[in-house]
């Protein structure tokens, strides 16, 4: 086990850390990964951690957030716990295959890679890079471009472990796969896991990701996930972010969609000190459909920033974005959605909606929905609102004998339901609806579904 303390000046600190632990980082990674690692490191030296002068990070100063002495694991740390006893994040009636990541490392160290019927491969990214070099080589760092993004470069430079999933041609995985990211340690730590999901032609899969913190120290996560969605493949992605208020999470999702593929991504943020979600979608073939949805419920001093970039590089594609949020106390938030329709992407349909409710005067929301369109035969629209609950609706409910608190909850519930109903897995939809209800009532303070009840 190795534990490194990161020193002053954010960028320099990482540069130094990389140099000092050069061997340790490169150790047990194949050459082709180390090659990319070096390139990414050079890019990181150029860009550093984005701050407010970066237009895409205008409302979230990450340089400040990373400016702390965190520990970072360069090899897995052994923490043993009985998964079933300690943790029941499962969704009732939802038959899933559960996979755990602990502080960015694949948890089941004895069984790093599993081959499932039909040729599906699932397991640790590090192990997969060693066992299936052709597959990983073909896709790794191909979609998550680190040329312009300091944080992706940082992640790529330090890439060690994460989740790897491969679904071969024509295979349909019936059961959703549940990935649980657990952060648990006695000291403040930084994790940077790297996931790679490959869905070949005509395949189908559904993934549920839950992010949790199981101990009190402050954690910072900078994760990158790459998704290759082959021709005519279908992919459902749902994520629930439920970490404590001291945690900071930056996640980058890169979807690369081939012809006629369909992706639906739901992101439910219930808790988390600082959340920054970057979703980048490239529609790399005709007839693609992409649905990116998000719901965020924040209170206290939390900060949430959703960034979505959809690149309509080809004709006849459709994209939908719907992001909704309720901000309470002195929470702050931002939304930055960008749709780029390239020159030849005729017959594009792109819709983008962002609605926000501010419950207090101290809450603050900034939204920046953008359209950049270079083709003429398109239908694109966006809408953004920041406001409150509808007074008339509230009055209507109250005139029917519903007290103010309940009436408000009812309206907020209805507001959130727009996003929840987009979740494809019915059992999960029910579960999330339940969690959101509790969250709005203030009953879910952190990890209600975790037996530790550490809060």
């Amino acid at each position: 086990m190795s534990l490194e303390t990161i020193k002053t000046d954010t960028k320099e600190r990482f540069v130094e850390l990389y140099r000092e632990n050069h061997n340790l980082i490169k150790n047990d990674s194949p050459d082709y990964i180390n090659e990319i690692r070096e390139k990414a490191f050079e890019q990181f030296k150029k860009f550093g951690i984005p701050d407010k002068t970066n237009e895409d990070y205008k409302y979230t100063d990450l340089n400040k957030e990373f400016d702390n002495t965190y520990k970072m694991y360069l090899s897995p740390k052994n923490i043993k716990f009985q998964v079933d006893d300690i943790f029941k994040c499962d969704v009732p009636n939802l038959n899933t295959k559960v996979i755990l990541l602990l502080n960015g490392w694949y948890y089941d160290r004895e069984n790093l890679i599993q081959e499932l019927p039909g040729g599906v491969i699932i397991g640790s990214f590090q192990k997969a890079a060693e066992l299936y070099p052709d597959l990983v080589k073909k896709h790794f760092a191909k979609y998550a471009g680190f040329e312009n993004e300091g944080l992706v470069a940082l992640n790529t430079a330090f890439v060690k472990d994460g989740i790897f999933l491969y679904v071969p041609k024509g295979v349909v995985i019936e059961k959703p796969i549940q990935i649980i990211n657990i952060l648990m340690d006695d000291e403040e730590g930084l994790t940077q896991h790297r996931n790679l999901f490959i869905l070949e032609e005509n395949s189908q899969a559904s993934i549920v990701v839950c992010d949790h913190t199981l101990s009190m120290p402050n954690f910072v996560t900078n994760s990158v996930s790459e998704f290759y969605i082959g021709k005519n493949a279908q992919f459902d992605f749902s994520r629930m972010q439920n970490e404590h208020n001291g945690s900071k999470q930056v996640s980058h999702l890169y979807f690369h969609q081939e012809r006629d593929s369909r992706v639906s991504a739901n992101n439910i943020s219930l808790h988390g000190g600082l959340i920054r979600n970057n979703v980048n979608v490239l529609l790399n073939g005709e007839g693609c459909e992409n649905n990116t949805y998000g719901l965020y419920l924040t209170d206290k001093g939390q900060h949430i920033d959703n960034y979505v970039f959809i690149d309509h590089a080809n004709p006849n594609c459709t994209s939908n974005q719907l992001f909704k949020g309720v901000l309470d106390d002195f929470a702050t938030g931002a939304f930055n959605g960008k749709v780029l329709v390239r020159k030849d992407a005729q017959k594009t349909l792109a819709y983008q909606t962002n609605n926000n409710i501010l419950l207090t005067d101290d809450a603050d929301f900034n939204t920046k929905p953008q359209l950049e369109i270079y083709a003429d035969d398109v239908k694109c629209s966006h809408g953004a609102t920041v406001g409150q609950l509808d007074e008339d609706a509230l009055f209507y409910l109250r005139s029917r004998g519903i007290n103010k608190k309940e009436a408000k909850l009812l309206l907020m519930d209805a507001f959130a339901h727009d996003v929840i109903q987009k979740i494809q897995v019915p059992a999960l939809q029910e579960r999330i609806q339940d969690l959101v209800d509790k969250r709005l009532r203030g009953e879910l303070s952190r990890c209600n579904n975790c037996q530790m009840h550490c809060c």
Partner: protein, 483 residues
């Protein structure tokens, strides 16, 4: 009526830029280039008081520390400031025209050609005009009639001489010279412009208008408009601009400042028709303008209306600072880009007072190889309770080589405010064109018809004479874009 239609049709079919002529007037210009001596020379030529020179020098020194901004969605070729003449005056007898007879006949002919009624006798439309050619104000009409009401409407230079206290108090109070790159440049070298003061309780009986014309080659035009509206007053202000057709690009960087006290209403309308460059994107005006209104008192209303059809590059964001409680800001815009034009335009609504309201209606039309962007900010600060904003930004694409972009920024910091933004981008529906074709309307005319309908919401906000002009302009600007 029929004749009128014929005329419009003729204009449409002949298209292109009709204000591209050059007037042959002798100019008195200073040498090319920009340095502190040039700034001093301009100030000296204009016989300015000490405080003006100081203001200019401060601005110039500040400008030297700045870099050209790059955030706009524009490709701006490097501007060589040493290759521009910063001050050029059409030569005149004595110090300024006393009556119409004193105005250079060539000059008069120019403005007649442009349809600007300098000749008061012929003037039936009831518009007071201040015409600015190159660097100086040529002639202000109806000055005497307005003076009876206490309204001061004159050129900026005249105001500097005659009302230095007002200039000193208000100049730079809305757009300080530190505001941005081009504001600093303008503050250093501005030559002339219009000044307007509406005293307390006065409703200006006629439309006030400024007409800007760049004539001389290699010159930049840097004018400044300052409008001060005291309590309970009203004024409607128009602005128009044209320039001759030249192969090189010319720079225009203006500042407009409007101060509104209590219970004031100001309407500011612009029909911007600088030379847009030819079909291949050669030549044209770079139009970098800072316009801002400050609603300092309660219950004031500022309304910006703009029709932007000209300029090779437009960089313009007429903004409203809503400081007073219950103040209202409005922004109506039609921006048309064709051929190789680029426009990055929009507005800023800063809600600071309580119960402030703002409305943004922006219609972008792009054709040819042009790029047309809307960029806007709606900011509601914490104390601006009950603020309300509605923004609608639509873009119309005519052709597959142009671009339409929307970059709205919405920042809300309290719970009582409602801010809404919506935007759509699409092309003209084939069914709409088919419907017109079916009724015997040619595709080209059908597009003109549809575009005018699309922009109607904004055009309706323009004063009558301008609205007709703007409608024609829209049609001409889109000439040849169908195909």
């Amino acid at each position: 009526m029929e004749k009128d239609q014929d005329k419009i049709l003729k204009e449409v079919t002949q298209g292109e830029y009709k204000y591209g002529f050059v007037t042959d007037i002798e100019n008195e210009a200073i040498p090319k280039g920009l340095n502190e001596d040039v700034v001093r020379l301009i100030s000296q030529k204009k016989n300015e008081p000490e405080f003006m020179l100081e203001f200019r020098l401060k601005a110039f020194r500040y400008w030297q520390t700045l870099k050209m901004p790059e955030w706009a969605h524009l490709i701006i070729p490097k501007i060589n400031y040493q290759d521009i003449i910063f001050y050029s005056v059409p030569k005149q007898k004595a110090s300024g025209p006393k009556s119409m007879d004193d105005v250079d006949p060539e000059l008069k002919a120019t403005f007649d050609k442009l349809g600007i009624p300098l000749d008061e006798q012929k003037m039936l439309s009831g518009i007071a005009v201040d015409a600015v050619m190159d660097s100086v104000s040529v002639k202000t009409t109806f000055k005497e009639n307005l003076a009876e009401l206490g309204i001061i409407f004159c050129s900026f230079s005249e105001a500097v001489q005659e009302h230095p206290d007002l200039i000193k108090k208000y100049m730079g109070s809305v757009v300080p010279y530190t505001d941005n790159y081009f504001a600093a440049l303008n503050s250093a070298v501005f030559s002339d412009g219009s000044f307007c003061y509406i005293p307390k309780g006065v409703r200006c009986p006629m439309e006030l208008s400024t007409y800007f014309r760049i004539n001389a080659a290699n010159t930049g035009q840097f004018e400044r408009t300052l409008i001060i509206a005291e309590d309970d007053s009203y004024v409607s202000y128009l602005e128009g601009c044209t320039a001759p057709q030249r192969d090189e690009n010319q720079l225009h960087a203006a500042i407009v400042e409007i101060i509104l006290n209590k219970n004031v209403e100001v309407k500011y309308s612009t029909v911007q028709n600088w030379y847009p460059g030819d079909k291949n994107g050669k030549g044209g005006i770079y139009n970098f303008v800072t316009k801002r209104a400050k609603c300092a008192g309660e219950n004031s209303k500022i309304s910006w209306t703009q029709v932007e059809t000209g300029s090779a590059i437009t960089w313009k964001y007429p903004s409203c600072l809503l400081l007073g409680d219950n103040s209202v800001g409005e922004f109506y815009s039609v921006a048309v880009t064709n051929n190789h034009q680029q426009a990055d335009t929009g507005t800023k609504m800063i809600h600071i007072g309580k119960n402030t309201k703002s409305l943004i209606i922006s219609k972008g039309i792009s054709a040819g190889f042009s790029q047309n962007s809307y960029r806007g900010l709606v900011k509601v600060v914490k104390n601006a309770t009950n603020a309300r904003n509605f923004s609608q930004c639509d873009s119309l694409l005519l052709g597959d080589k142009c671009g339409a972009h929307t970059f709205p920024y919405i920042e809300v910091d309290n719970k009582d405010s409602i801010v809404e933004h919506e935007a759509t981008t699409s092309k003209i529906g084939e069914d709409q064109i088919f419907y017109c074709n079916q009724r015997g309307i040619k595709t080209e005319d059908a597009i003109g018809l549809i575009v005018n309908g699309y922009a109607k919401e904004v055009l309706n906000k323009l004063p009558m004479e301008f609205a007709v002009e703007a409608q024609k302009l829209l049609q001409i600007s889109l000439e040849g874009s169908v195909g």
